[in-house]
């Protein structure tokens, strides 16, 4: 695989967030992905999102599976712990990590092969458990790292680089997540940072599992004319349903008010009090109506359009810990004295086994 390092964009060092950190402080190692790979743009968007949210870098846990997409956890927030696990199994590792320490921000990065084939079951069950995490699916319709085989998200008729058509129906992670009862479902495009960054921010502040499916073209194996996951195709068939502006709680006053660009504005309050403003481009689109969202996304797909934006959000569902009734603090911080019942209790218990 080629590994041309992506040139770094320099930012004025004067721009600092509330923690006094510059965007640079949220960067990671040099990317070894192909120049122009969509995944690198997603990385850049993630860096912006964390930086803008003033999240302490070391309070982030980054997890991924295996694939070009999964490599990207090494390319942002050097000061966060990262875990590049095994192919398709990041959701389990993230579940366990979150079970142990609910206080961190969890971000999982995966690919369409990682999430929709080998790891489909894992992703579904993480959704079902509503593990609190931002789950970014970098979707390019192919297995990049193993050199261009079709993935389960490839559309029927989409052609490989060698010209063979894909004949099997795609699995759409958005429709799937909606069916499974996911509490936050979004789709975006690596080429639309303006849309992507607020979505990632909203996902990070969401109180449960936040899926962001990002069409992220593979320039090396799936960016040719007959592909439906190319930059060109995605731009041409891009259909923005409900662009959002994410407003963190403490900036509410400054940023409140209608969002630029017209359209009706709807607001959804996140569990911590932050707000997401939706700009309704599609008439009557209701991002809190699961059935309607499903119908809309499906109809758009049938018209050959890629519906994007924050497609569904529900703040009412308890996450894994809410359901379990776990203590509010990280389990890793509970002192041993509170975990071990001690010998006196043991001796009492022994009487029950006589």
């Amino acid at each position: 695989m080629t590994s041309i390092p992506k040139p770094r964009v320099q930012h004025p060092s004067s721009t600092r967030n509330a923690l006094g950190l510059s965007r640079r402080d949220y960067e990671g190692g040099m990317s070894t992905l192909c120049a122009g790979c969509g995944h690198d743009s997603v990385t850049a968007a993630l860096i912006d999102a964390f930086w803008q949210l003033d999240i302490e870098p070391h309070r982030v846990a980054k997890l991924s599976g295996i694939g070009c997409s999964s490599k990207t956890t090494a390319y942002f927030i050097n000061q966060a712990h990262g875990f590049n696990s095994v192919h398709g199994r990041m959701p389990a590792v993230a579940t366990g990590a979150n079970a142990a320490n609910r206080e961190l921000y969890f971000v999982g990065v995966s690919g369409d092969g990682d999430s929709l084939s080998i790891g489909l079951g894992q992703m579904c069950h993480a959704i079902r458990r509503n593990v609190r995490m931002l789950y970014v699916l970098e979707n390019n319709g192919v297995y990049g790292l193993t050199k261009g085989q079709f993935s389960a998200s490839a559309d029927i008729g989409s052609k490989s680089k060698k010209g063979e058509p894909n004949v099997q129906p795609p699995i759409d992670p958005v429709l799937l997540a909606l069916t499974l009862g996911a509490s936050f479902v979004a789709r975006s495009f690596s080429g639309d940072k303006a849309q992507l960054v607020p979505l990632l921010k909203a996902g990070l502040m969401h109180g449960g599992f936040a899926l962001v499916d990002v069409i992220s073209p593979c320039v090396t194996f799936n960016d040719h004319e007959a592909s439906t996951k190319s930059y060109l195709y995605t731009r041409q068939h891009y259909h923005e349903v409900a662009p959002v502006d994410f407003v963190p709680l403490r900036r509410e006053i400054a940023a409140a008010g209608p969002v630029e660009g017209g359209g009706a504005v709807r607001s959804v309050t996140m569990h911590d009090g932050s707000t997401v403003h939706f700009r309704m481009l599609a008439d009557d689109y209701d991002p809190t109506d699961r059935e309607a969202a499903y119908r809309y996304v499906r109809a758009a797909h049938q018209r050959g359009e890629v519906a994007t934006g924050l497609l569904y959000v529900d703040q009412g569902n308890a996450d894994m810990h809410g359901v379990n009734g776990t203590v509010d603090r990280a389990l890793t911080s509970v002192p041993f004295e509170e975990l071990c019942p001690g010998n006196a209790k043991l001796q009492e218990l022994m009487e029950e086994y006589r």
Binding site: S85, A92, V93, G96, T326, Y353
Partner: protein, 598 residues
Amino acid sequence: MSGINDFCFKIGTVNGTGSASANALLMQAIFRMGIPVVGKNVFPSNIQGLPTWYEIRVSQDGYTARTAPFDLMVAMNPGTYARDVKEIAPGGWLMYDSSWPMPRALLRDDITVIGIPLGEMCNATFKGDRERTLMKNIAYAGALAALLDIDMDVVQAMLQEKFGKKKHLLDSNHKAIRLGYDYARAHHDCPLPCHLQRLDRTRDHILMDGNTAAALGAVYAGATVGAWYPITPATSLMENFRAFCEQFRRTADGKRNFCIVQAEDELAAAGIVIGAGWMGARAFTPTSGPGISLMSEFVGLAYYAEVPAVFFDVQRTGPSTGMPTRTQQADLLSTAYLSHGDTRHVLLFPANPEECFTMARDAFDLAERFQTPVFVMMDLDIGMNDWMCKRFEWDDAYRPDRGKVLDRAALEKVEKFFRYVATNGDGVAARTLPGVDPRGSYFTRGSGHNKLGGYTEDADEYREVVDRLVRKLAAAGEATPAPEIVLSEGATAGVVTVGGCRGAVLEGLDRLKEQGIVLDYLRVRGFPFNAAVRDFLARHERHIVVEQNRDGQLRSLLILETGTDPKRLGSLCDYGGLPLGTNRVIEGVKALLEGVPA
């Protein structure tokens, strides 16, 4: 056998009819009479309608192994009369439900038949099919109480404890017990020559199965995250962990100081444990062979990325689904080197519930200290059967061994933290936990990495890390519990065994000694084998390895890891799925010593 406080009997019933509570009642009553006792449940992989047996051995000397043939057979399942009758020792007794006479052809001249019309009596006394079926079990327990001279006061007290609050049930149980008891006394010579007499040899003991004990060990060791996928015979381990946590781990406001995740499969369960271990929690998963196979890829990750994780493998019989309700020790070899690539794992081998309790704690300590997966290799016999064991004690001074973990203060003193640099001979490199301090951040990966934690495809850098893992695992082996060794003066050879074979082997060696065959004994308790195992092998030219699998897996491990000449290690394998019997040990060892393959 066949004497006072020294005999065994077997009860054959149909599963799903409620016989388990009657059998437990018998076991516990004998135990409360102060007489050492063990029970083995031989049950089908089925919910209702198939044959099931319960074997009870009464042994005033405290022997725990299974011993066929049986002095007394309680045949409650006409479907298995033929085979049950065959298993009675010459001169023994057959008790059965004589409401429907047993075909004469099945009977033997050398046994005494005791007919009790249990069905008839219960039909006359109780109403409704369900109650009649259930009470028939209690009635046979009553008949046995008369035949074996079980203290009725003890039985009454137990029923009172169990059903005290449910008057209707208490009455029915009392009635049923008396039906069997009175009938047996009126129509048969009671007690039989093999019967019970009060002793005082269970005072400091409990009756517990290994899954309960291991669960308790996990609670006491401070495990907070458990992940699992149900599988016989490991299921009750997590069920018990949950029950203990509900009892001991709820805060004043009802919140839980634990998180149990029922995963979608064993792959996920392993991943959850690894994720939690990476975060710094003590996490575990109980499973059995099929689950271990699925966990293989993740276990390699934990080994190579050096993440603590604890696995309980409650082994069952066979490759594939095999015989899920039978016992074996057949995952030794595959688990020792589980996953692709060069791997080696820490295994602990408990022999009984007491060791399940202590080794659960040891497993968490070793996993954190050596930052590696640790497997507690139990089996169905240990995990699911009730064993008499010494009351557990807990040292309140115990604190978890967290291994080398750099906290914020320690990181302040480090110029720059690198994940895989070991500073002393045990090969263990300090780790940091996520969320603690930006200076501790590093990237955990299963892909090639160098000692600094960076990605590598360089031959030397790769070798440097995996060579350190060899040193680390050797140190871990030395830190596993020392083997149990019994040396006898004049011994000419050694017997090496593992896990639940202990009871049968120790008893077998006692019997052999009476016949003039004196042997030393070693039971391995950890892998990689520690030096004491090598030393023992050097004591004698010849050893016999006794284990419960077809291929002599422990023997293979000994050959591989200690370089012992295979010719020096005889192999006695028992792998039909039932707990090892003493007679098999005696006969097998004798044959091998005489040069005949066992």
